[in-house]
Symmetry: C2
Subunit: 353 residues, 2 copies
Amino acid sequence: MYYSQSARLAIYAPGEFGKGQSKTAEGVIRYAPNPVVAVIDSTEEGRTVEQVTGIPCQAPIVASLTEAMQYSPDALLLGTAWAEGHMPSQWKPDTIDAIKNGLDIINGLHDFLADDPEIVNYASLHNRKLLDVRRPPDVLPVGSGKAIDVPAFICLTVGSDGSVGKMTTSLELNSVARARGYKTRFVATGQTGIMIDGVGIAIDRVIGDFMAGATERLVLEVAYDNDFVFVEGQGSLTHPGWSGVTLGLLHGACPQAMVMCHDAKRTHVGKDKLPFPIPKLSELISLYEMMTNYVRPAKVVGVSLNTSGMDEKQARAALSAATADTGLPATDPVRFGADELFDAVLAMRGKKS
Amino acid sequence: MYYSQSARLAIYAPGEFGKGQSKTAEGVIRYAPNPVVAVIDSTEEGRTVEQVTGIPCQAPIVASLTEAMQYSPDALLLGTAWAEGHMPSQWKPDTIDAIKNGLDIINGLHDFLADDPEIVNYASLHNRKLLDVRRPPDVLPVGSGKAIDVPAFICLTVGSDGSVGKMTTSLELNSVARARGYKTRFVATGQTGIMIDGVGIAIDRVIGDFMAGATERLVLEVAYDNDFVFVEGQGSLTHPGWSGVTLGLLHGACPQAMVMCHDAKRTHVGKDKLPFPIPKLSELISLYEMMTNYVRPAKVVGVSLNTSGMDEKQARAALSAATADTGLPATDPVRFGADELFDAVLAMRGKKS
């Protein structure tokens, strides 16, 4: 475990909470075992987490670190993830103040706290921990397709873009598997997943040559004493910036089943509307199946749609359209549960064994 | 330029020269502007570079650094590339001796000399340079497909595996273009290419999230004042360890034409015969064209076969078989020249403009 799962967290998301760049904050609130005691974002001050995000959590949103300190946090978690992953310079004074107030700092950005001598100095002075969860292990192997030989059934979430629900879907599938009595593991491959599960490697932070090898290592570590392994995917094979991470992870994980994740409101990759349209889901599914096949044959068994912001009628229509396009079961696991998707994974496992 | 192109090089390849792990040594000897004055490999002592490799270079192969010093080198170039890129511990004494003898050290491994305090200390004491060519820039962008808008015609070499001739083919195409009077640039994306061209970024050493962005930056830097840009590709889309690097580079480079590179003797990816067969070239070509298409449409216009070790009849037969399979011109650019391949690139440029 990178950190205590009972530590009380204050989440730092100034100007961004609930606004699309705060997926780390929201993922931790929804899924981490840690109690979240406050969120810092002056633009939403006075509301609760539930009022802003719909996640059933009554933690207050406060304007400043000083106010957050009233709720006795143990750590400040930097909860905003940018594409480039740099730390905004205006975050630094609050980070240092938090250390002076006795908090550990949890950071999922590409920029590491431990690389800032001033922050390191304060942390040392106040005997606080700097937890750069995206820092990969120093030594990693080159991928060699070893995960094709493990006993567990490996299911990977893949997607049409970043931030469409791959981590969420993997976590929900893992929960269903556990509830049904299977031995099962979620494998975290991104900063938020690591903050939730306590272990993992942020594959997008790994040196290119070792991305598949790092994924392979994560899978091998859990694949001998579990029935199912649910690996969190990253990015999309058609994203002009992240496709390499997606493919490295795909070939390292060696899945036998995949679940296709998509945000039903998204038409282009990237939130800034790059000129790259998302292909039809059925086309994307063929693409993932073809690329996986060179290392291990695998099928996409279902579709996970993020329908947040749609009313129930719109959501149901989007799910029906996805099924009509792909011939596969489709659900929004946050809204309607992941049982149907897990049934599809289970059916594929039956076919393979 | 990372280093003087007139510096005299001694190349260090103990036990490996000409044996398959020395592609960095051989690439530098064949293509770098620097004079190579000696190669260190006691297992080939007394022969010349030409006798071992066929490359027309009369530099002697010597048993030790002491002997190499007779030829007045300015730098020791570590010339053996392993898949994992670690520096063998037995290389360290020779590296330190070379520094004590007044040599700079050129290193293309994943392990950096500058990260070894003892080596750094010696280099500082003797005022020598440690040139870790695989070290990427500290700050890189996330790829965004920007290279789709540049004036130069972009040609990328792609391949069936690592070490099949992608760098060589890009360099040969660049030479033909220059000889025909075009403004042209080779873009180095690997350690050997950087040692040869003097600039570039080793994309396989870049953090996953920034591989496409690093490639994009390299292309944008040269794409406004050249007719052609020949980008060195890496790995293969079907390699279980390196596929992510290949795809990140592909989407960052935004090629309009590709040349498929293959070692005619290779049946499986990886020199250690992984259980992953290389698909037919025609199938691989479809795969690369399909994956490129999501960012920018591009066609494979020719096949570059590495036929080293085959006699001329075998080589010609392999080229004919490649053409029969793919319907494309095929040549071994080292053996038979790259004019035919450049003609195919030129024809594609005519179609696109």
